[in-house]
Symmetry: C2
Subunit: 321 residues, 2 copies
């Protein structure tokens, strides 16, 4: 939960007056999101979400994110739609920071996903991958295999304070992944962060996807591996094979994996686990003073990585039998 | 900003299904408030605020708070109105904690109050004092003069780490206030925490008051002194006499102060400044690990206290000439 920037009432009034959405009736910070500040702005025409892009987001990436939401929306995917102001711009400046207003998406995120939610998110991920086709802009995935070692180096010194032997184990995994990382798999626009808090449900039906601020171009199957890690493990650290089968099966109903993608899944899952282990480890070791967000447990992803290391083939994920 | 309790989607669905307000369409934590967790719950019938009472609130006080909001609402004061569930109860249990749903109040709080806002809040405070008449329940003010010394004792040891000499200066002020604190002033229900973030405005008209969780029975003029401190000082620490005159004048248009109240104002202002100095000092020295709220600067109230100590009579507040 994080709202980093305090916005004055007259600032928000002035900002919103540039849009055709009526006057502001209410304005509240939302205790969600980590990278940006989000506010619920109720205007005479209804609720909207205002996002202020904080310093962890590169402003040069914003046209990609905003354009992607418009592209996906136009292709029928339900996601927040950027609202353009009277000058035709979807990006403005508020309190000295880049800011955008997007439409309000009904629904709630599921705190304890069940099998049917996993199936729905698999389907939605494949829908997203198909809807992303033809999007003109591209964005490199800075958090894929080439990005991991530099990230790792920043946690080497104190990494073993979290778990003795962790630094050596990560180095070994990095050596392996850099050698074995696949190439030539189908690529496209991926969400890259489709955790439960970014998927809304309404009466148990998936009602939309949010938060495209990690989206980039990468292997489509890598996105599925991220979801597998984020949705299909139980609180005790074990993979729920029924959920994995539901998620990957839901995906395949819309976009069947190629044989190469299926063969690569275990290593993509390892890579995805390492990626979140590394960012969480860094955040854990570098909690800023006055932080408004409790850092997430990096060892959750260490346990997931260990699981995937033990996987012989994709039957461990409930598919390919 | 603080949301202390994570609520699962099925828990909120179940809780709201006990009310006649339709199904939940959206559910978001609000990054406001310090004592309780607040959520915006949009249902089929519109937006509502759900409050979860965290451990700093004594559950035995909840009937007073809830009843007061109902009493004030019935008397025409605009404030959140508790929604009763189908069993007729305004208080329920959610995630193991007391919880209430109240109506959503339109408006925004003013980050940089101007003179006209101060006038409006003075009037609203007097309205509140009149509307509170006849409320059957009572609640002692644990943060009035008898409560200050025990609170002070808990900060004695490390108080001077905030400002050298602070502990002795507070002790001296306490000695003085305990001797000189008035008696016999008109009493009633006071808000006791009417800071700018608890007063909503819509198009520069005051649209309502929120957060009655410090309300209690005490001197009515003490409430005005709290507002004076909260609304009428500039960022540089100086009292804005024009704002003070507007606030106290706005109050007097609805409920004129008695001569005794006017004479007591400087000492009530000192007491109010000491009260917030003491609570902020304690919070400053006791930030819990993983705190989601940055503690507020206690020295802001030290500077206000010093100002009031220098006041000869109420002309310093722009009235009584």
């Amino acid at each position: 939960m994080a709202v980093y920037t305090e916005i004055a009432d007259d600032e928000i009034d002035r900002f919103v007056s540039g849009y055709d959405i009526g006057a502001v009736l209410s304005f509240k910070g939302i205790a969600e999101g980590v990278e940006n500040s989000n506010y619920l702005v109720v205007t005479e025409t209804g609720p909207h979400i205002l996002t202020l892009y904080e310093k962890r987001v590169d402003p040069r990436d914003l046209p990609f994110f905003i354009g992607l939401m418009e592209h996906l929306s136009a292709r029928g995917l339900t996601c927040p739609q950027p609202v353009r102001n009277r000058a035709g711009e979807a990006l403005g400046t508020l309190a000295g920071k880049p800011a955008a207003i997007v439409t309000f998406l009904k629904g709630m995120w599921i705190r304890r996903p069940r099998v049917e939610h996993c199936a729905a998110v698999g389907t939605a991920l494949a829908d997203l991958h198909l809807a992303g086709e033809g999007f003109a802009l591209t964005r490199r995935n800075a958090l894929s295999v080439e990005g991991w070692r530099p990230l790792f180096e920043r946690s080497v010194e104190r990494g073993d304070s979290v778990l003795l032997g962790l630094v050596d184990a990560i180095r070994e995994e990095l050596d392996f992944l850099e050698r074995a990382w696949p190439s030539g798999l189908p690529k496209g626009v991926i969400h890259a962060d489709l955790f439960p808090d970014n998927v809304f449900f309404l009466k148990n039906q998936l009602s939309g996807l949010i938060d495209f601020y990690f989206a980039c171009n990468d292997f489509l199957a890598y996105d599925a591996a991220i979801c597998l890690n984020a949705w299909c493990f139980e609180a005790d650290g074990a993979l729920n094979v029924t959920k994995a089968r539901a998620l990957l099966g839901g995906y395949q109903r819309v976009r069947p994996f190629t044989d190469e993608e299926l063969a690569a899944l275990p290593i993509l899952a390892r890579g995805s686990a390492l990626r979140f282990l590394l960012t969480r480890l860094y955040d854990w070791l570098n909690v800023p003073p006055g932080a408004l967000v409790a850092p997430k447990d990096p060892l959750e992803y260490w346990r997931k990585l260990r699981f995937h290391q033990s996987v012989a083939d994709i039957r461990a994920y409930g598919i390919g039998e």
